[in-house]
């Protein structure tokens, strides 16, 4: 099943952005990976080609019925100039779980990862070196069959693009303001919340637009059934430190199984800090805050790594967390995770995969 990746180099190279100008997901490298699928034939013709537009029939299923999945991970470069990935096999695993939910054929995880490594290797000089910067990797699958019936596509493309990125939040590791969402719902049990698929993000835009106008960086989603229990933030899982214990919503089928979330739990356990995955109501957080026991709150995700929450707005309650400054645990997690990623901390859990 091992397939040869065909290589076509870009004739001209694009200019690389200055480290200071780096945003998130606006600039793309010289090359991309692409591979086709046709029912009966399977996945075929893996190739690295110059970054270029896709040519798709206007009736392609992706435009109409959104049958698509994606992933997000990063490549980091060490002081010594070595490129590396952070737990990429977790992203490949999740990509296939998302594929299952969305009726998209599975990918060979080992092969997909080797393709990503090869692509990152080809565009290695695009990995920025300034602190906090990295090369964001976006693998995605789109349904390309030209057919207006609501049915799984018989044709797909698996594509990987790369984008040199600065920090996701302009605020960096500084605390952000988050608004708890009471009206709109992102995902519900039995829906697609656990899959990394387009529709979950499309449905989140409206709520985010409304709170952005009021100065909030993101919304905190509550469960779709009772609007009582905490789910996750925009593109991060969420953690709270209450009276010395760290808690995070359990994986209930409607939130994303974050790689950063899993890494945070592993680190906390390793440090002997109590951490529990369970159902958490917004009322509980509010009571903890009133009692002076809400010690920290932070989001965890690939893009921002750790994002402290300095203010949480819920109905008429404006809860200032940890005086609006970054908490001790959030800082320690951020330093350790980025330390492992950039190679300044020991990789005790064997999380790093080198790109040769």
């Amino acid at each position: 099943m091992e397939q040869q990746i065909h290589m076509e180099y870009a004739a001209t190279k694009k200019e690389k952005p200055n480290a200071a100008d780096l945003q998130f997901g606006r600039v793309f490298t010289d090359h991309m990976f692409i591979m086709d699928y046709t029912e009966g034939k399977g996945w075929y013709d893996p190739r690295i080609i110059p970054y270029q537009p896709l040519s798709l029939d206007p009736a392609a299923i992706v435009f109409h019925y959104g049958q698509t999945v994606f992933e997000g991970l990063k490549a980091y470069v060490t002081k010594e100039g070595e490129a590396r990935l952070f737990r990429p096999e977790k992203n490949m695993e999740r990509l296939n779980r998302s594929n299952d939910r969305m009726c998209i054929p599975r990918l060979d995880e080992t092969f997909a990862l080797s393709a990503i490594k090869k692509l990152v290797g080809v565009d290695k000089d695009w990995i920025p070196t300034a602190p906090g910067t990295s090369l964001y990797i976006r693998p995605f699958v789109i349904s390309t069959e030209p057919y207006l019936g609501v049915a799984p596509s018989k044709q797909y493309q698996f594509i990987v693009i790369l984008s040199p990125v600065g920090a996701y939040y302009k605020e960096g590791i500084n605390p952000v303001k988050i608004a708890v969402e009471n009206e709109f719902v992102r995902a519900v049990k039995g829906g697609t919340g656990e899959a990394k698929t387009a529709g979950n993000y499309a449905s989140s835009l409206k709520a985010q637009e409304l709170v952005a106008d009021k100065g909030y960086a993101q919304v905190l989603w509550l469960d779709g059934l009772e609007k009582k229990y905490i789910e996750e933030v925009g593109s991060m899982n969420v953690f709270f430190k209450i009276d010395g214990e760290v808690v995070t919503p359990a994986l209930n089928g409607s939130i994303l199984k974050g790689v950063t979330r899993n890494s945070v739990i592993k680190l906390l356990k390793h440090w002997g800090i109590p951490v529990t995955e369970r159902r958490i109501s917004m009322e509980e957080i509010h009571q903890a805050h009133l009692a002076g026991k809400l010690e920290e709150a932070f989001g965890a995700g690939t893009a921002a790594v750790i994002s402290p929450i300095g203010e949480l707005a819920w109905n008429e309650n404006q809860m200032i967390v940890n005086d609006g400054v970054t908490g001790k645990i959030a800082k320690q997690l951020y330093d350790t995770l980025t330390g492992i990623q950039y190679g300044t901390e020991e990789d005790i859990f064997d999380w790093i995969v080198e790109v040769k």
Copy 2:
């Protein structure tokens, strides 16, 4: 604000399919309509061009975050060779409501409709004439800005494509078997169920795939909160006749506001048949069936017009409706609606819009 539509004719014409071979949404006509949007500039450059692939940056938001909406309506041709649309202004209205929910800029409804009419006029000889056939019209908006951040796109394309179609269900007006879905959820209050947007359909694929294996044409969705109340079928609203009264789920924010649904209600009222929009539990339908009072069940949507339900499977209950044959009301609605559409029945409600 009236814009001139630029016209580029196809150099060669494609071969048209035989009426007998017509499927749904597999073949497209010679031309398409396309128009661009850029923030600050608005909608511009409306044009009819030869049907052709779209060229999009692989980072276009539609591929990743599914910010997109669509519509579906049909052009019919009368015995006299006149082309006509059925309540198209309703589709334009709904397109803009979907746009609002998905943070997509509104279209000028009058202009969009005139563009559709012009396109249908250009490809008029593609409207099939055999009974039950028509030209399916698919207007859609996709987000094209190359940006991997979760935020509304600053660039869009509004596109219209046309497809000559046979009956949506191979079974035609014959009753279909429908399975009530207990596990998966299509949409929930606060979500995007009321918008015609890609993610709603992507999330429905899995459930449909599972029941298709058991011989069911579609699933009947229940509410996402309690999984008790009836919502709609795949791409149809649903009606039941119980003890002489026709009932249909009320518009509750999570189901589509179907144009056919509205037309059915109007016709029933006109005929003096009692019709009520309200919350309907699956248990109520089951009890009515046990009591011998479930007289008819049918779906209503543009694609199939009226689709009688001959069997409804709910947990271990297989409910055969009206002995598995098309009911009187379903038949009367189908005949009247298609009669109005094809010009053999009087257009008493002024639903028809002629294409000059």
